[in-house]
């Protein structure tokens, strides 16, 4: 039987967020809702990485003065996924900002937030 750990719950929650996020981005018609769905997707990826780095009773991965290397490596959570999460937060914010800026410009032009209206094919 599979043991239910915090890490496993983290993976499940991450999977739900990712699926809901992708579904929202693909199937919702409102552009702002699409962007909100993207933030869910981004959070899901972050949670996946955090769950990956999780260690039962782990400590923050900072080597403090007086701490032995062997003690540090046996107790600290994985440092690399934590770094990736930090980067993903920055990328998520940048992407959201750019998407919102584009949506504002298109809203001013078309007066609606419906993707089905705005992104309709245009004669070239």
């Amino acid at each position: 039987m599979i043991e239910v750990t915090i890490q496993l719950l983290g993976f499940i929650a991450a999977a739900i967020l990712i699926v809901v996020g992708i579904g929202g981005m693909l199937f919702l018609d409102n552009l702002i809702k699409k962007i909100i769905a993207f933030t869910l997707l981004s959070d899901g990826v972050n949670l996946l990485l955090v769950a990956l780095a999780y260690r039962e009773g782990g400590i923050v991965p900072i080597l403090l003065p007086g701490m032995s290397i062997s003690d540090f490596t046996s107790r600290a959570i994985l440092v690399f996924p934590a770094g990736i999460v930090l980067t993903n937060i920055v990328i998520g914010v940048s992407t959201t900002a750019i998407l919102v800026a584009l949506v504002i410009m298109l809203y001013r032009r078309y007066g609606t937030l419906k993707a089905s209206v705005i992104l309709k094919g245009e004669r070239r």
Partner: protein, 498 residues
Amino acid sequence: MIESISNLWSIPLLVIIPMLTAIIVNFLYDKAIKPIAISSAIVILIISIISPYGYHWFCGHPALNPETLTFTFNPNIFGYKLSLEFIFGPLQHIMIFISSLILLFCVILSTIGLTKHQGPYIALLFLLFMSSAIVIMVNDLYHLWIAVEIGSLIVVGVAAASGTSISHKAALKYGLFSAISGAGLAVSLALILGLTGFANISDAIMYLKQFNIGEMSTVLYIAFGFFVLSWMYAGGLAPIHPLKSEVYGASYPHATTLLQAQSKLMLVAIGIIMLRLFGMLPFVKEVMIFLSVITMMIGVIMALIQIDFRWIIAYLIISHSGFVTLGIGLGTYEGLIGGIFQAVNDIIYMTILLLCCEALFYFGGKTSTKEAYGIAKKSPFIATATILGAIAASGIPPFNGFQSEIILIQACLKEGFPEIAVLILMVSVTTFIALLRGIYRIFLKPPELQSYDDSNVDLPKVLIIGIIIFIVLSIIIGIYPDIVLRFIIPVVKEVLSI
């Protein structure tokens, strides 16, 4: 104790100089932008030419020897490199050189052509180059993901910069999809990291080769799936080609030269990484070949039905991306050489066509085959250059396209895919037909007397020089392919461990 390491000086410069220039020009007045931007582009070009080969351990983790408790950067001690690293080798040399040459012309043309918001626009061009340089130099999944994400955001910005409703829509569509694919690449990175414990691509490959992948194959397939998604959107492969082709068609033609160069670099870099990481799994190469074939076909068919010369070129860029991915997907010695060589050639001849398209903007800004007439009479040079570009793109000797396409055809025949070899020939012929249709209507068709403006137009000298340089490059590579192949062959041997 840490051993000394010999980081290559040029690698950080190729990243930092474009980044710093982007920051600086963003805040400058118009008159100060031009000298700084052009100087930076020249410096980048010089660095790409004179840089020796080597690596840069970018905030890497040195390996810990558990017995002596010493840190070391020597990869031979434990077998693994354990680090985030950038590599500058022959492949990076040729790819970055061509990209930086295109960057230089792009920057000069945008300082001439753009009257408003020059600073932010040129900043985007430098960042676009930076993301391309990182993607091709990187040897770890972390920086690969960051570069692909940054590259996507910059592509959105460059597309939106032309300011039309079509460009805004193209940018939004590409931005929304890149958000999904970028997150997918992050998941893929997490899966490979969780599976192997390594972010360094060479380390992860070594780990996967050393251990039985039987139980890991499901996770690897999921990671491969997300990689394929990123590959498709970064390079504009079918079935999501409309997103990228709209970006190409909606951007300024000079910016499209850099956009298509970035796409080709991403296709090559991500393709080789996919081949190395997942090549041992069944059906991986088949998936890559299938995507390539449908991209080649759909791209060229869509090009045939376009009425705007910019959009004809946009779809041909997509179609010819299929040549690049086909070679990489074959995964053989000839296939890889042909694929990478095609990427280099494709960048060159598409640049000729796009610069000619940029010239059309000086003749009234019309690129539609229904609106522009008789340009050949106004500028025989641009008409001739466009025809030469079309010949190069169609794989006709003595131009460069011929050399890479013949290698790809040989690779297909050798692997037992004669039908794909025939398809390459058909795509080449259809490319010529699609371009000739546009060329005839825009350049050669007699003008309607009422609407014809016979006034002479002075094209910027730098545009003419750029077109001449790329035509000369195309012919030289077509006659002496070894000039480029000597950069590609060592890389292919390394990838295939020959």
